[in-house]
Subunit: 337 residues, 2 copies
Amino acid sequence: MVTLAEVARHAGVSASTVSYVLSGKRSISATTRDRVERSIEELGYHPNAGARALASSRSNIIALMMPLRTDMYVPVMMEIALAVATTARTHGYDVLLLTGEEGPAAVRRVAGSGLADAMILMDVELLDARLPLVREAGRPAVLIGLPADTTGLTCVDLDFAATGALCAEHLAELGHREIAVIGEAAAVYERHTGFAERTVEGLRRRARELGLRTLHRPCEGGYASLAGTLARIFGERPGTTGLVVQNEHAIDPLLSLLREQGRAVPEDVSVVAVCPEQVALQASVRLTSVAIPAQEMGRRAVELVMEKLEGRGRPRSTLLPPELTVRASSGPPPARG
Amino acid sequence: MVTLAEVARHAGVSASTVSYVLSGKRSISATTRDRVERSIEELGYHPNAGARALASSRSNIIALMMPLRTDMYVPVMMEIALAVATTARTHGYDVLLLTGEEGPAAVRRVAGSGLADAMILMDVELLDARLPLVREAGRPAVLIGLPADTTGLTCVDLDFAATGALCAEHLAELGHREIAVIGEAAAVYERHTGFAERTVEGLRRRARELGLRTLHRPCEGGYASLAGTLARIFGERPGTTGLVVQNEHAIDPLLSLLREQGRAVPEDVSVVAVCPEQVALQASVRLTSVAIPAQEMGRRAVELVMEKLEGRGRPRSTLLPPELTVRASSGPPPARG
DNA sequence: CTGAAAGCGCTAACAA
DNA sequence: TTGTTAGCGCTTTCAG
């Protein structure tokens, strides 16, 4: 294994010079730099990560804690994770993948050992068991999701309350008066994951202001479950003309079932989805939707982590503004009677 | 920050004793061990990862290289990754997440710096650009997927040739004579990802033996694309009564379109899918399918890595045997005429 | 602009 | 069963 000392000898300079060439932390004459770089190249030198971490007390690693949930939509999680990983690389950091398996203790282990310089937590719940540990970990952390108490924390999330409101507004403007929300699985609400509840609250509040009647039904996703949900919705509120879906597993079944029931979209029922763009575009009807900006969230989280690692940046929450794109699934309600 | 030396002082023993209590690499009297463990507890000691890595030249980290492809089915990738992470933890290892972004050079960087002790590569292509680097990296590696030349390499994969054969057999036994394969996106074949081609080859070979006619059509997934694919299949081979789908994005559209076209499943057309169990179960018809054992693949990969890290275990490929589960989507073909 | 040298915290011989 | 100690390879003062 090639060491820095060997590079130094080969280039006829001191170890510190090689180190500084690598880090750029002090000015080096062009000739020296050239010589060192050539030696590095020739010898195929790679700085040892462990030695670096020990000497500098920085590992250049960010821990990413993912949940192990089965009820979250996987592609979004994945897109966030990949965005985190690639963005981190552009800042010279690698990403350590932690699953929820280990529980909150993982926070302590990774922070305490200095394995990671900072951490990003995904799928944060309103009262997340990891938060106390994060606060006392003494390492920069960024949450993806919004807990109940954000004091001292930095969070990134889509503004789901505004998202719900936006959906209500869009349907109201089109002239709808009765709308229903097909939500996430019941477990998601019970766990108080925040985003799902915020969407519904935002939608309800705005709907009230606009004089819309609303109904909210959680849904497991899949055909069987959705058939039941749909039946109950139209059973309780036959006048429903607008549906807001926040559940990726419900979208395909929803469109299929509506078609089978002879309800045309958007002539008889308008559908607005809260989902990733790709899902909205690949459905059998191009869906009017509010996009979930997964990549943006991952990217932002890393950038906030970097700010903290560099000493700039204090706790603050970033709520990304929702954007609604009108496509083929929404339109005016059918004429009354 | 609490160091091993402080623990030693606090417990009234030497540093090496603390180290050995931690590693269990030599016998310690019960009393000493107790004292040390109590000190560790009281002081809240966590061994420093960098120092450990430097002194032992082992980071206890496994690198996991994921692709950035958009045409692979994400939940499978994710399931593998999570299985890798949790299994690694049970062996005391953490997982570093590398995306394809950095290209093959990531292999060199991670191996050369000693950041990871071993690596697992996902989505390996027949002629994968990372393989030369893996071979010369001098670190244990396990591939998920099967390249063209496996000499000196350890691979894990579902036996896709046998999978294809199994699908052909099932349909043949039911009495079908003309079957079609709805495959992955064309790009997947062009890239020579192996698994997709192997399935079709295995299916074709067995079909020939059984006297079945076959047709294979790649498909992008989504409604529009699938409608075209389906039209071409039934246009060229009106007698087709069995469909094998190896494309998760095609499943929902396929079932919807068949229904709309008045082709009943399985009365008019049998459908056999190659997909994760969950997908087979959540479709509008419970699908006869060969499962993609994502978790098992992740778990196996880690176990093979561990064997190598412990010195046991030479290069060898593990092909997991496919299992076909008969559900509601396959049955005898309609009576002729 | 460059060098010398003191650690960083831990592991693993080597001794006892 | 336990202690002593020499590094592991790099960063970063402190000197020059």
